[in-house]
Symmetry: C2
């Protein structure tokens, strides 16, 4: 998605060799006009797949997922990172290791909202090691729902998550795939 | 907002005398078609106020804020509940007590994204004790930005947050104000 790559080149900042800061438009300040183009592109790629639910994980996937869901005309479920007293009853649960936060989260989705009748598109902002997506896929599998695929805004293609997921036969669509990056040369895209 | 009240009556569940579960459409599964009507209503109430940034707090405010921002044609900033290594540099910081989670969070916004030139609308899903909104207002005040007001989807008007904020002269718009509720009689609205 050329518009997105241009935005990453212009406003993204590389820290070291593995942190790509896009907090001015994607995951702290959020450019919802860009999100509309992202949602339109996810629909183009997954149109006709019969998606009836979008699943994401808090927090930075939620905005992208909600704007994308407007194009699919379906609800969003966001997986929660810890059990609160406001989610009663039965939940699907899995564990996700966050490399950003250096800890493992219990991640839950209420059983009320995912089941065998659903056809799920997973949406998230980043794919790197794949831990978050693998956790969400585990939740979908527990529910018996069909998985249409996963759409991520930015894939760090030099990290193993995307390859591992595609090797499992999961359709993963990344709107910008970063082949390599450094503070000196910036971001190089894979395609 | 009658559509919202009808939805709360139909799909909301009261637990005890103070928990209103709306997780089937507002803060776990999210009905983005309803969010569009919510965003349209927030625009109707705050139109002409010159809002150029919407501020919310992770996680459940983000989806509502993003869809609302499409109507205001402005970006969203979500305040983060803990410092991660992906937010470098200077941040505004405050503390917010979560009654749902029974703990106090450090809440931060990067100084890059809020300043004296901004005119901020705060958006959140619930107003009860007011702790989250007070934290967000503190962040706006630290930044020197103007505060246009706060828009919340559901106010528990029997808890003190809304009254305390309005007594400070802050414009608070709640789309559904719950006067009282119980498991036996359900939800009664204030207006």
């Amino acid at each position: 998605m050329e518009l997105l790559k241009e935005r990453i080149r212009r406003d993204g900042t590389v820290k070291g060799n593995d942190v790509l800061k896009v907090d001015s438009f994607l995951n702290h300040q959020m450019d919802v006009a860009l999100f509309e183009e992202i949602g339109r592109e996810f629909l183009r790629r997954f149109d006709g797949c019969g998606v009836n639910k979008i699943l994401t994980i808090e927090a930075s996937g939620i905005g992208i997922a909600c704007v994308t869901a407007q194009f699919f005309r379906c609800p969003v479920i966001f997986a929660k990172k810890s059990q609160t007293k406001n989610i009663a009853g039965a939940v699907y649960t899995t564990k996700v290791e966050s490399f950003t936060h250096g800890r493992v989260y219990d991640v839950i989705v209420s059983k009320k909202f995912l089941g065998a009748e659903d056809n799920v598109l997973i949406i998230d902002d980043f794919l790197a090691n794949g831990a978050a997506l693998e956790g969400l896929i585990d939740l979908v599998e527990q529910s018996g729902a069909r998985l249409a695929g996963a759409g991520v805004v930015i894939e760090k293609a030099f990290q193993p998550g995307g390859e591992r997921l595609r090797a499992r036969g999961i359709r993963v669509e990344a709107l910008a795939r970063v082949r390599s990056m450094s503070e000196e040369t910036g971001v190089e895209f894979a395609d």
